[in-house]
Symmetry: none
Subunit: 196 residues, 4 copies
Amino acid sequence: MVRSEKTRQLIIEKTASIFNKKGYTGTYLSDLTNATGLTKGSIYGNFKDKNEVALEAFKFNYKFQTRQIIDKIEKEDNSVNKLITFLNHYKTSFKPIFKNGGCAILNTAVDTDDGNELLKKEVVKTIHNWHKKIVSILIEGVNKNELKEIDIDLFSYRMIAIIEGSILLAKTLNKPEILLNNIEHLETEIIQLKQK
Amino acid sequence: MVRSEKTRQLIIEKTASIFNKKGYTGTYLSDLTNATGLTKGSIYGNFKDKNEVALEAFKFNYKFQTRQIIDKIEKEDNSVNKLITFLNHYKTSFKPIFKNGGCAILNTAVDTDDGNELLKKEVVKTIHNWHKKIVSILIEGVNKNELKEIDIDLFSYRMIAIIEGSILLAKTLNKPEILLNNIEHLETEIIQLKQK
Amino acid sequence: MVRSEKTRQLIIEKTASIFNKKGYTGTYLSDLTNATGLTKGSIYGNFKDKNEVALEAFKFNYKFQTRQIIDKIEKEDNSVNKLITFLNHYKTSFKPIFKNGGCAILNTAVDTDDGNELLKKEVVKTIHNWHKKIVSILIEGVNKNELKEIDIDLFSYRMIAIIEGSILLAKTLNKPEILLNNIEHLETEIIQLKQK
Amino acid sequence: MVRSEKTRQLIIEKTASIFNKKGYTGTYLSDLTNATGLTKGSIYGNFKDKNEVALEAFKFNYKFQTRQIIDKIEKEDNSVNKLITFLNHYKTSFKPIFKNGGCAILNTAVDTDDGNELLKKEVVKTIHNWHKKIVSILIEGVNKNELKEIDIDLFSYRMIAIIEGSILLAKTLNKPEILLNNIEHLETEIIQLKQK
DNA sequence: GATGAATGAGACTTCATTCAT
DNA sequence: AATGAATGAAGTCTCATTCAT
């Protein structure tokens, strides 16, 4: 990694959770300099503007949540276990997720709903990728007769909706059990979809 | 209504959707004056500060969503129909809700997650009220043998989570069918809970 | 007193010490409404503008300090006793004077030194009157052979300077004894001027 | 001097007399930008807020009055000449002092009497230092038998009171001779204190 | 590549004053 | 006479961004 690339990474890593907590408009350049120990000039030497930092911070936050989970899923050899593994992630990792400000997709989708087209597009792309991943597991399950026939599109979007809605409620009301319970309910549904 | 109360109402009505779309930090005094045609001095003559306008705007947005639905529910005489009526609201009213900037609870919960304690408290209070309303219908249903025995707390939070998560997805991806489908799935679940 | 004149008096009485404490610029219309319980419109119904209230408040503050003292002086039949009586006033009344914000002449002279010509002129006029009063006592004393020959103009201005400077120091340092000591020194000087 | 320190100095030097003339509340940010040719942002880049500028401006105004005089005093080798030199300063320098808005201590003491604790404390500290300086000269004089025994505390506070009161009168009435005459009277008193 | 002083637009807020009621 | 809602100018301060060094 060249010198400047290192600084870019430093800025992204140190500011990602701030953007996730305070939002794009609510995060100030001064937050970025405070968090990094760098000067404004240095931020602008490494990024075009605040928006570019926000964009990279969002990508980082998303990866932060996804990287490990993808690895774990790939190790499983059947679709049901993959889905269970995926859901299990939210049960074991809700603490660091909450500490990081909650789900980056949820936060950024709401934050960019008005204006900030670039960031909004990235969020949409990210949701699509997430959805595609779940769909591909479900297709694999149905094709290999591990799962009963279901409406894959409907089921996958319902999964995502429950997860996001549960994170919102659990975080806002400070009741993690809402997330845990709803995830467990989803797991039960999946077990019932299993072909005997 | 006295003159001052009229102006307060005007300000709230004209700015509520702006706050819902742009968030608290993202809505500027200039947005308020532009939307109302009033001067800054007039805004401050009628409200303590921007925060108070935001608070009232949130309440207004919530009522905007709730008033009609409560009325409709009260007309139903059994718990199942009440729940169906409640869910039906989201199927018939998603267009004005989306036009208004989406679900005020969702938006404001995310927006106020950092800072703005007053507004955050109001959001939490509002979710609690919403939850209590659903719980009371479910209790009524179980007591009158209209519904099978279920874990009421779990079911009610799961309903709210699905609705919120679905609004987020449907609005962000511009796919209202996600909301419609997930609502229909909930309706199916409720029908299955019916005592024969 | 007609009705409006009563309200004018009320405004003046209730706000005089505020102007004395906070100065012309530092006293806000809201201070005036708070102190009087009246509305802004009512203040403007009784006075041309804030400046006119300030002017009357200054006159009131000055009278507040002067009325009693003049009365006491007039009762004395020789110049030395008149001067002693005059000086004695500051020893016995420094508490209410300080509570009222200090010497109105001192405060207003400093406050109006830049801008506010009307008020400044009133202060100058007031000092002149004060000075004239002292001069007239001194002339009477010399004419009646109660006092040695002195430079009356010099002595009178020195008296005023010591009093004002002492009030400033005593109030700022919160050491009333500075005022008391300096007044006593002046009294000693006057006793020494007595013709035997 | 680094660039930032230069700008700070520029702001202080260019605005000190404005603060002295118009007071803390009466001096606006626009006065500061007009006087310096800088932008508001630049003022705030160099100072925490207006209060900090006012504080430094006061210190500057005080030094403006004091620096030269201290130097002159130190060159004298006996206490009487030190006192005479000190008093002489007001006779020779009243013009620039008046042009600068008068005595900074007097003006700021009155201005900050209500509110602005930081600035008020600085004024009190400054008066204490001034008083201590005079006291130390008087003690030296008594110890070295240059001066008769006197109550040093009383005499020193009387000196300061006369000077401040005289500046107030001379400036307000536009009669510098009041200051000159009262200073000369003080000089006479000091000469009479001389040990023969 | 980094600095940080300076910018200038615009943020929130408060002021004295007016005027329809 | 009194009200108090509305004004509009001006207040203090902060923002993202630029640029000479």
